[in-house]
Amino acid sequence: MNSINDCRKPEELIVAGFGGQGVLSLGMTLAYAGMVENKEISWMPSYGPEMRGGTANCIVIISDNKISSPILSQFDSAIVLNQPSMDKFAPRIKPGGLLLYESGNIFKPSIRTDIDIIGIPATTEALKMKNTRTMNMIMLGAYLQLKPVVQNDSILEALAKVLPEKYHHLLPINRQALELGETLARQLKEPVS
């Protein structure tokens, strides 16, 4: 892995998938956690025709300095949850960057060799947890294990803010999902002996 926690450099991330997979809330949770840590943040959603029955994405920027453009064409990292997003955004990751994908929904990952490409079976794992909607949090947990751009505590605080109060009974399972994602990514990172 490349050096991943250079706090001077902003993190420019795109999260993309089908509508309903939790793309926007994944990005929002991360952005909120950035704010908890007094960082500069921006969260730019796609709200266009693609949102109305197709792919959704959001660009999240977390930085120690003021953020210039919220619209980007190149990214440090991508979290992709479906094949069209893989096809669209894999070419737009900067060399040395991270491509994290949901391996249950994506059968043809990118063949680039100049970036780190890591698949997480988050849907399968979410099914095991008996709540498929935790899939996005498993992905977020895995991402944070690989790119610790914010602290764990901040994410937990963010989760409580992003999740509407009537869903707060789901906080524990979301926390579990985050931890599971971290574990999965850690296991994948460790060399097989």
Partner: protein, 356 residues
């Protein structure tokens, strides 16, 4: 200082309206600004304020006309097609000299166009839009924080000049989330008793609000009075932001979202050794002509970047009086240029001007 919140531009604007003491909001839903009506419909009644979903934008703006005439802080918001429908009402409000705040979360046109961001309403906003000789003060936010701040500023300027103020945002600034802080606000004292129709006591004459002055002699006097006001606005209310202009050989001129994208383009260009700065007009009316003319004596070329076919570039050209080449780069249809794309265009232009 109050704490930071994570909000969409549209939500921040709506919350600011409540904090600024907006008495009444009239609107009709349209993407990409429907969050404003949603937010205010939920929150305004808690503060005993009026929110009404009108039957159309034509009705919204005329409700604003009525509420403003009665001395209330009134506001509406919409996106491009809806703002087009409001133009008659805006002209009447300007003619009747009433303060109000209008927000346009610009989407790409013409016609229904698309719901994606655009800046194609620059001419409509700054050069009239409705009929007759009038001007609105036009504020162009480039961040969620400014979406909030300019509500307070907008209402205050509207009261100060008894003139409609337009906040010209765009779909991206309206939809994106950033952190925002609501600063403590003290509303300036304004005495509306000499004109607002609040019910006539025996102690004064009737207050009468109209934009009709049927005698040409009287109408011209009214026109001249308005022109005097617009002159005062031009002298006192120009606002702009400069970045890296001190040593600039080239200059981006851009507002709103385009200015944000140009900041990134500026960083990339400077890494390549191109000394470029950015002038961001914050008020589109009044326009920072004077500062651009000064910079025309310093830089070799200006490049106006807009989400349209080239509208503000005309004001940049007016400003520099032919002293320096003024170029344009833009995308339309809800497409947004990437920073890299702008730098590429800049490099091509520099080469071209160097060769000629």
């Amino acid at each position: 200082m109050s704490e930071f919140k994570l909000m969409k531009g549209n939500e921040a604007m709506a919350e600011a309206a409540i904090l600024a003491g907006c008495d009444a909001y009239f609107g009709y839903p349209i993407t990409p600004q429907s969050e404003v009506l949603e937010y205010l419909a939920r929150e305004m009644p808690k503060h005993n304020r009026i929110v009404m979903q009108a039957e159309s934008e034509v009705a919204s703006i005329n409700m604003v006309y009525g509420a403003a005439g009665a001395g209330f802080r009134a506001m509406t918001s919409s996106s491009s097609p809806g703002i087009s429908l409001m133009q008659e009402g805006i002209s009447y409000i300007a003619g009747a000299e009433l303060p109000c705040l209008i927000v346009n979360v610009n989407r790409a046109g013409p016609g229904l166009g698309t719901i994606q961001p655009g800046q194609g309403d620059y001419f409509q906003s700054t050069k009239g839009g409705g009929h007759g000789d009038y001007k609105m003060i036009v504020l162009a936010p480039a961040s969620v924080q400014e979406m909030a701040d300019f509500v307070f500023l907008g209402f205050d300027l509207a009261d100060k000049y008894r003139n409609p103020v337009l906040m010209l945002s765009d779909g991206a600034i309206g939809q994106m989330m950033e952190k925002v802080q609501f600063k403590p606000y003290t509303r300036p004292e304004t005495d509306k008793s000499s004109w607002a129709t609040t019910g006539k006591p025996r102690t004064r004459n009737r207050n009468y609000i109209t934009s009709l002055h049927i005698l040409p002699e009287k109408m011209e006097i009214h026109n001249l009075k308005l022109e005097e006001k617009f002159k005062k606005i031009r002298e006192n209310e120009v606002r702009l932001e400069e970045m890296n202009t001190a040593d600039a050989e080239y200059l981006f001129v851009a507002y709103g979202l385009s200015a944000r994208i140009c900041q990134k383009a500026m960083d990339i260009a400077r890494e390549k050794g191109i000394r470029i700065g950015l002038l961001r007009p914050i008020t589109l009316y009044p326009y920072p002509y004077r500062r651009l003319l000064e910079l025309a004596g310093q830089v070799k070329m200006m490049l106006s970047v807009e989400l349209n076919s080239g509208q503000m570039v005309e004001d940049v050209r007016l400003a520099v009086e032919g002293k320096v080449p003024v170029e344009f780069y833009g995308r339309m249809g809800g497409m947004m240029p990437t920073p890299e794309e702008i730098v590429h265009h800049l490099e091509t232009l520099i080469q071209y001007h160097h060769a000629n």
